[in-house]
């Protein structure tokens, strides 16, 4: 492992987002706070409890997941798309680094950023609602696995995209709807049976459910199924990245 190279790439990526600290940190924190205000405080007063947890506290894990998913995808996709678009990628590709080292640098930085944001939002949420975390280690595991998996997905999108439209298309048309429909703001038992079945096809349901379980011990699906699902996504993402590297797809003609 060429540690110096990976470290350099990782640090440069982190530094790049520090240059745009307002976008990187302030805006997701602000938008999550707005969710708390609207859903937690305003609507929450009308919904007493979900599965024995106050509505405000109930949506905390879902909101963190929502932010983690969207930020991981957008950080990682932009992180690799930008140098491809500007041409500076030549330097990374001509460096004595293996592809996997390049992935660790880019994806590691993107995942770190969204993890930091996740923690910031977690702390911010505390200002709005009291909540407890029953399984902190499992929570950390879900957080890390989700950040890494969706950063890999973002990396894939950033390589696949050949323009800014495509770069925004997937998050807009796929990630955001899946997250909103993935049980962020409700428990899936609240849905009619037909929609419950449909919802189970949504991968985000498993993430949110497992993550919420680590907080309150309540879940829509078993936490082990959640864990298995996220490991499955991770494996799928790694397989696609491996294919990209083997074929040189969009990176090396």
């Amino acid at each position: 492992m060429n540690l110096e190279s990976v470290k350099t790439l990782y640090r440069a990526e982190m530094a790049r987002s520090l240059r745009t600290v307002l976008q990187s940190i302030v805006s997701p924190v602000l938008s999550t706070s707005l969710y708390f205000v609207v859903f937690g405080a305003a609507i929450g007063t009308r919904i007493s409890e979900v599965d024995g947890v106050s509505y405000g506290a109930f949506i905390v894990p879902g909101l963190i997941m929502l932010m983690l998913l969207t930020q991981s995808v957008s950080n990682a996709s932009f992180g690799i798309f930008f140098p491809r678009f500007s041409g500076t990628i030549y330097e990374v590709l001509s460096a004595p680094m293996s592809y996997w080292e390049v992935v660790v640098g880019y994806v590691g930085a993107a995942a770190s950023k969204s993890l930091i944001l996740g923690i910031i939002v977690l702390v911010t949420a505390r200002l709005f609602v009291p909540y407890s975390i029953e399984h902190p280690l499992m929570m950390a595991l879900f957080l890390v696995l989700t950040a890494v998996t969706f950063s890999l997905l973002g990396f894939i999108i950033g390589i696949w995209a050949d323009g800014f439209e495509k770069l925004q298309l997937v998050p807009l048309l796929v990630i955001t709807p899946l997250t909103f429909l993935g049980g962020t703001f409700y428990s899936i038992d609240m849905l009619p049976p037909f929609w419950q079945a449909v919802t189970l096809a949504n991968p985000v349901v498993y993430l949110v459910s497992g993550f919420r379980w680590s907080f309150y011990g309540i879940s829509d699906v078993s936490p082990l199924v959640s864990l298995a699902m996220i490991l499955l996504f991770l494996a799928a993402a790694l397989a696609v990245v491996a294919w990209i590297f083997r074929t040189g797809y969009r990176l090396k003609p």
Binding site: N2, E4, S5, K7, T8, L9, R11, A12, A15, R16, R19, P83, S86, G87, T88, Y90, E91, V92, L93, S94, A95, P96, M97, S98, G248, K252, P253
Partner: protein, 316 residues
């Protein structure tokens, strides 16, 4: 054997590249670059210069053949091969908001070298960038940006530097500057491979020249040997009385009439060996015997530009 290996720093063997669409950008290229030389890869736009460089540097996968950098296969032993190479790309690609110092330091780290501010300072000073080290890239002129790209390529102390069209679209003064920079680098022991479609540049800078056209390396020669071998010399004889045709008894000489019969042009190989000579003495004797009086004469050697144009024309 080991001596030969030491003298050759890059060996390209039977390298072909066919792009996904089926376009053949390189056709069985064989090339050796000698340690410490300035090698110019000369060819028209689209000849395959950038593709050849890109394969050597690991940016494009070869379809066939291989590249050895200091004996290391550029694919199998890519770490060893790439660590020795610095690349200055053709396009002025950069991250607009990064600062000069940061981007040059980044390049060093990316190539796996521990930080060395003293080296970065040396590189920046040698490229007259020291005063600009805190500037963001976006504030620099085109010439300065090119220098930053060179600094980035030199940050990890490579033995070999590729400069892809370093002076394309650069004005004359900057071009001279760039040549000076390249010479200093060569004096510091760096092997330099530059591509250009300016013959002037190859003529000015290179120790050896490779001419590439349509993905084929037509020839590789020392600059002087190239000029001598392919450089035809012309002797123009201005005549006192015009001629209608070249007289019969002068037929054995390569003569043609010019200036409406007022001049005879004699072409000969500048390099022709001493034993048969240039043929000028015989020609002059025959002229005298034929009673043709010569008023004036002058000789001219073709430039690399003419050689190049002829070569590319001949092969086409």
């Amino acid at each position: 054997m080991s001596e030969a290996r030491d003298a050759t720093v890059i060996r390209v063997e039977g390298l072909s590249k066919t792009f996904a669409g089926g376009f053949e950008a390189l056709r069985a290229v064989d090339l050796e670059i000698r340690r410490g030389e300035i090698f110019a890869l000369l060819g028209p736009n689209g000849a395959g210069k950038t593709t050849l460089i890109s394969v050597i540097c690991g940016l494009v996968n070869p379809s066939q053949g291989r590249v050895l950098v200091d004996g290391h296969d550029s694919v199998q032993e890519f770490r060893e091969a790439r660590a020795r190479i610095g690349l200055v790309p053709q396009e002025l690609t950069n991250d607009a908001f990064i600062k000069v110092w940061d981007t040059v330091s980044f390049s060093r780290g990316l190539f796996g070298k521990p930080p060395d501010p003293a080296h970065i300072e040396r590189v920046l000073r040698s490229l007259s960038l020291w005063e600009k080290r805190h500037n963001r890239m976006i504030t620099l002129s085109g010439g300065m940006k090119r220098r930053v790209l060179i600094a980035k390529a030199l940050a990890h102390e490579p033995e070999i530097l590729f400069l892809d069209e370093p002076t394309a679209g650069v004005d004359v003064a900057l071009r001279r500057d760039m040549w000076e920079v390249v010479r200093q680098l060569r004096d510091a022991g760096v092997t330099i491979i530059l591509t250009t479609h300016y013959i002037e540049e190859a003529e000015e800078m290179a120790d050896r020249i490779g001419v590439i056209r349509s993905g084929e390396l037509l020839l590789v020669e020392g600059k002087h040997a190239l000029m001598q071998q392919l450089g035809r010399k012309e002797l123009t004889l201005h005549l006192r009385e015009p001629l209608a045709t070249v007289p019969e008894r002068l037929a054995r000489h390569a003569l043609s009439l010019a200036e409406e019969g007022h001049a005879l042009v004699y072409t000969y190989d500048a390099e022709s060996g001493e034993e048969d000579g240039t043929g000028i003495a015989e020609l002059l004797a025959d002229l005298e015997a034929a009673g043709i009086a010569v008023k004036d004469l002058h000789t001219r050697q073709s430039s690399l530009e003419e050689i190049f144009v002829n070569l590319v024309k001949e092969e086409a």
